[in-house]
């Protein structure tokens, strides 16, 4: 394999990994804290991209896209809170909560996907890149500045998330709720506020991933469904309920996917990834980086 091909595989792996990490960490966060699996998570990526596009259209395209992204984050936090309130909240205490929320989040997915279609129509759209131009390093490696921003900014966001969860009061209370809801309640933590916050945070992370993605490829209402499935694989590999494991797994899967596509082709790669996922679930369902299984049935 030539050096040229190698670096391009490496680069696409890095870009993919960064997006998966943003998406998967939100998915994992919701799972840890609320104990439910959010199938509407992927479509939030599309919502984030479309909302960013809408904001940039209203404030005028002369402004840098970063401002629109910042405003979009606010919208996404509110949307996440609304989703939690409508799709999850009514079913706490239901003995079938895992199953019922699979259904309600799937309904949420259908709703949002068709909602995008209804509001923005089927015409394909694209966001402007965060930074124009290309970067070339010694002629070995050429990538767009936008990709470079994704590669650099995503880990920074994730590091920020890690510190937020581990060192801030709100972050700690979210983790406490995830570990033991009852005890957290007894300690005076507002559990339902933590749930809303978690959903809002997850939606914002996914929205950012969507805005990044929208500058890379054309947007459509179902642009989040494939990344959701990838995020699912990532979360399984990293171990449910384990943020640092999830982030590590995102990079591992991103690279693995890039290399598999290079060596065995686009057709067999997804099948192999799912096969890996099934094996991980069977033999080590706490994930590759998980320490112990969460005892949730």
């Amino acid at each position: 394999m030539s050096l040229d091909a190698f670096t391009s595989v490496l680069l696409s792996g890095l870009v993919l990994s960064s997006l998966y990490a943003l998406l998967a960490s939100g998915l994992s966060l919701v799972w840890t804290t609320l104990g439910i699996f959010n199938f509407a998570h992927g479509v939030l990526m599309a919502v984030g991209a479309y909302v960013t596009w809408q904001i940039s259209q209203s404030i005028g395209e002369t402004y840098w896209i970063g401002y629109s992204i910042a405003l979009m984050i606010v919208v996404m936090v509110m949307l996440g809170a609304v989703l939690e309130y409508v799709l999850i909240r009514p079913f706490y205490g239901n003995k079938n909560i895992v199953l019922v929320t699979v259904m309600t989040t799937l309904a949420g997915l259908t709703f949002l996907e068709n909602g995008i279609q209804a509001v923005w129509g089927p015409r394909l759209k694209q966001l402007p890149p965060l930074i124009d131009g290309n970067i070339s390093i010694h002629g070995l490696l050429t990538l767009s500045a936008h990709e470079a921003v994704i590669i650099v900014v995503s880990p920074l966001i994730l590091i920020g998330l890690y510190y937020f969860l581990n060192y801030s009061i709100i972050g700690k209370s979210i983790r406490a709720v995830g570990q033991n809801q009852k005890a957290a309640k007894l300690m005076g933590i507002n559990v339902s506020r933590s749930f809303i916050l978690t959903f809002g945070l997850a939606a914002a992370l996914t929205g950012i991933a969507g805005a990044f993605y929208g500058g890379l490829r054309l947007m459509n209402p179902t642009m989040g469904s494939e990344p959701l499935v990838k995020a699912l694989i990532v979360v399984i590999f990293g171990g449910l309920g384990n943020i640092s494991g999830t982030i590590a797994a995102a990079y591992l899967i991103g690279f693995l996917e890039a290399f598999l596509i290079y060596f065995i082709g686009l057709y067999w790669t997804p099948s192999l990834l799912f096969l890996f996922m099934i094996f991980v679930l069977i033999f080590r369902h706490e994930g590759l980086f998980g320490e112990s299984a969460r005892t949730t049935t």
Partner: protein, 321 residues
Amino acid sequence: MSRIKTQATVATICFALLCFLPLFVTDSYIRHLMILAFIFAVVACSWDISLGYAGLFNFGHVAFFGIGVYTTGVLARNYGFDPWLALPAAGVMAGISAIPIAIPVLRLKGIYVVLVTFAFSQLCLQLVLSQSWLTGGSGGLVRIPPLTLFDYNFARDGKFAYYYVALVLLVFTVIALTRFVKTPFGRGILALRDNPDYAAARGINQAAIRVTVLVVSAIPAGLAGGLYCLYFRISAPEVFSFGTATLVLSMLLVGGTSTIYGPVAAAFCIVLFSEYLENFPDLNVYKHLVIAAVIIAILRLAPDGLAGLAKRLTMRLIKDN
């Protein structure tokens, strides 16, 4: 006792009505909707065995349907099998493919079962997409031969014959599954769901029950897939999609789990309701929004589904009399 009698009476009346319906309704579009409802009702009520009765969060049931669609499609289209042979082969193939999926399910519980079965259905989809020499890839298989008998095409006379084939499949499935859950073995399935430790202490082999449940629920789904394929004369990868899974799962949850007849009733309601919305062209994109909202509302307001509502209603009637 009277509740069971009421149920049997209602079932018999419905069956009689469905039998004679095509004599009065000659519109082939309405018949088409009924065929669709019959097929999805089979998928939904067979899913009820693993999801409802056994309490297994099996999320890959639609994959059995898809496997049926492709088994029949590949055999009839690529290898020239008689459709009458390719149809039962779909049931057999779905039943066999339930065994490998049972292996991980035996070791896992809760959300992990959802994830591993979901991965299984995605794996099926990916294999179908990648093996285009066999499956036609993302375009699917087209021009699959229809069911015929002595040169009589079943789609003729306003799909008259397809209507009855689908009805027979549904009636056969409902009767077989209802009987199955009433056997002592079927009671064991419920016992295992209610209390796994106690069930083991009464001689119930968890592995045997789970494998049996998955195989038994996969067979009707596979047959329904086979019929779906012969009726539409295509095998398309969409059968493995989120959309199909959501549709059938909503029938199950709206109808009420662990009832068999609930999902069947819901299949009719959902197919007819979503087609009714087609009458409003202005609604077009909003149709799915309405359906999603209705599903959430029903899950919220009637957590036991339509069957739960019917139960409460008959209870009240019995009390009043």
